[in-house]
Amino acid sequence: MSALRRTWSLIDGPLSAVVAFVIALGLVNLYSATRVAPKGMFSSQLLWMAIGVLLLVGVALLDQQLLKRLAWPGYLGVTGLLAAVLVVGKVVNGSRRWFGWGSFGIQPSELMKLSLILLGAQLFSSDPKDMSLRPWRYALLWHALWIVPALLILKQPDLGTALLCGLLALSVFFLVPLPARIKGWVLTVGLSGAFLIVRFGLKEYQKKRLLTFLHPELDPTGTGYHARQALFAIGSGRLTGKGYLRGTQNHLQFLPEHWTDFPFAVWAEEWGLLGCLLLLASFLFLILWTLHIAAACRDRFGRYLVLGCAALLFWHVSINIAMVIGMAPVVGVTLPLVSYGGSSVLTVMAALGLVYNVSARRYQY
């Protein structure tokens, strides 16, 4: 009895509440969003969610020593997969992202996000003394470690995921205790590098996306069409929305492929500003609570692990919503727990599993 109660007390209540709430909203919304989609999408999302919950529990129960030991081999393995996928991967929509077996496929780029979280936690927690003695070595190593897979992902090409890996790795970098001057240098070099990439390194379609983001009126039916229609959907929801299952932009198919990248537009159209603020507040609570768990964690590895997860959630949510509401160019970044798709669901669930894992061990040591 007391064992059960002790186990129960290990489960983070507020975290569970907000995760369950967001999953519920996400499924409610996806039911509406997939009504005009090919059959079976909603049930397959239910299936992924179920698998995701199992994955979450599994990850939460993992021994942290095992996680530490997995960090390097995991990173090297996934980097290998990323290299391999460029050669033997399935081409979907013009980019090579998938290993496919029939209808089942995995994206190693999704695994790389988790792998980077794990590796960052491991790298920056393994030897604090050595790190304070030779901060430059750690900093440069870390940047070398994330840039290689990020470039491989960019090669697929998958700008969204590459961008996310970079932001994730940089967030971890800025959150770990390295000297401020090193962070300053990296910031300077990083910003100039980003400028050069945008100026010279983008593919034609990526430039075009960027351009139509800046001037959407130039091409109302081409690249900017989705973004414009998403704005119509969101704005037309007004304060309280058009009502569940009554979004015309959604149900009359003016929002193409809205279940993956644009589910927020569906939500905004049917639930209005109130619904949007509710969802936004839920996500914010989730992220702040994750930060809170990190702050409460007295173990460096656990704290950095959770920080990585917080960064993953933050960037996914903010970039996805920003692109849907027309504040960022359209790059393929999904909305955690709301977007359709196995890869997205499993990645987020695994990351949440890590958060639970750390949260449950807050009484140890």
């Binding site: 081409g222 704005l231 704005g235 037309s236 009359l252 003016f254 809170h292 949260s359």
Partner: protein, 660 residues
Amino acid sequence: MRLFRRRKLHFDLRIGLQTSLAPSGGAAGEPTTASLRVPLPLRVAALIAVSAFLVLAGRLIQLQALRGDDYLQKSTSNFIRERELAAVRGQIRDRSGAVLADNRPTFHVYATPRYVSEATLLRLGRLLKLSEEQREALGKKLQSKRGADASKQLLVAEDISRDQLAALESEKDQLPGIDMEARTRRVYPQKNTAAHLLGYLNLAGPDDLKRGYKHGDSVGRSGMEQRLESKLRGSPGFERFFVDAHGRRKSENELGEMAQLAPQEMRRDPQPGLTAVLTIDLELQRIVEDALSRHASAAAAVVEVESGKVLAMASYPSPDPNLLGGRLSRAEAQRMESDPFRPLLDKVLRETYYPGSTFKIIPALAALEEGLIDPDQKQVCHGRYELGRHVFRCMKAHGPVSLHEALAQSCNVYFYHLAEKVGLERMARWAERFGFGQPMALGLGEASGFVPTLEYYRQHGGFRGGYALNTALGQGAVRASVLQLAMAYAALGNGGKLYQPMLVDRLEKPSGEPVEQFSPQLRAQLPILPSSLERMRRALVDVVADNKGTASTAFIEGLDIAGKSGTAQVRKNRRGESSGWDEKNDHAWFVGYAPSRNAKIAVAVLVEHGGLGGHVAAPTATKIIQGYFDRVSPEHKPRPVAEATSSKLSTTLPASAGAR
């Protein structure tokens, strides 16, 4: 709104605060033994997250709360398509109801480029029996439309057959982006008859689009179609319907509650245009056109003397208005443009000519009314008249002639003497009274003609005596239209009432319910003594009835006509000048009214390069008058025997009647 926003802010800050103070706040309220300082980066991270979400929330407020109505309208116009329901154009009818301009249903095919796939194009090509080249050209045209243009309907085929329509309707489901639209097409059942008067339509151009017309609308371009455009047009209605993003039509059931977002008014019926009933008599119009068709190029007008109503108005040759308005091939159009007989020109209204001797009534009346001559005093005509170094000629030496004989036999020399007495200014004043050189305000692009004054000649190289002589004979600078002459002679025949020519009798709803009835408009009651008019009448009767009259060859037993022939000199003169398409023959005129007493109609006939008016134009005019009394209005036909003899007897006037 503001309240809500502030509350959210507090909520956010509290969470942020709690996070930054996390150790003491403690997860699940557990007491913590060791106090762990919350690292600065975490606090910054929390702050960044909160700020980023506040920015997102701000943008959402902008989109949904501030611009929401605008976006709602945009999203609504996404799925509500509006289709214009064209109004049926009003008919044009003759005075007894015969249809002159009508409408016929026709179907056009439209394509919306965005929705038309290659497969659809192939199917469409098969159903419309397009050749491979036509289909490919169409495909290219559709593909070339980008952006907003790709959502606009494009006319693919016009006036398709019933069979094609049925075929398209049956495969409508497999033709996304293809629409058939019912339109009407203007038809003129009488073909060439009254073509100039009716006018024609063609497609709205850029200027019309600015005035509220839409692509594919037809606009009246000339004649009554243009003049009455606003009455005939009606006002279009609309039909609204639901579509999805692929242009597929959705029923209200399929939309369910989403349909509530639609505007209240889903359909407005078009208001058909009004029917215009003209004063024209189709039977008489046919008689006139048949009479004119004996000539190469001619024009005629028949007006009701006591009202100014135009009963017939024709310009020959005339085009078939069914073929005008963009349906002619380029070659045919060019041929018509360059035809010397000018079939596209309305010679009754839009062209002016020298009135020639038909103008002599003006100096004659001016002289009589102002007491400048004794009409019975004879002038001797030797066939020539000298003024300074100039010699003015007559057709022959008429010998001694009075005014009566001078008019009946059209002696120029008599009128040279008369013109010197009357002078240019008086002639100009009297011409103006009879409407010459004055606009007619019909709105049909009619010409005003011209009557010279001393002022005019002073500004154009100075006045010389010969100009008054020329003017008296309707030459020189005098120009008049056929209808102006008809109206002037009508005034002569009705006791001096100059009417505004009237072409539209009334406007009706398609049901026949009257909307507007027009009445004759008197322009002026001319101050002419009845005795002068009677003197003119007798002289004009003898033009035809007397053996010596210029138009005696046109005399028809039993017809009582008062008229004047004219020969407008346009052939090559001694100086080698000529105008028009024939340098050997002058324009032939005959203008008159009938019966000579209690006149019913006035007729003006012009035959371009017909030769002598009395020989060419007069028989055409008498044929028209005969047709009117035989076939159009037999009840007004004068009793032949009595009238004919009386007119023969009354050719010499008692001296007392003319004394002033």
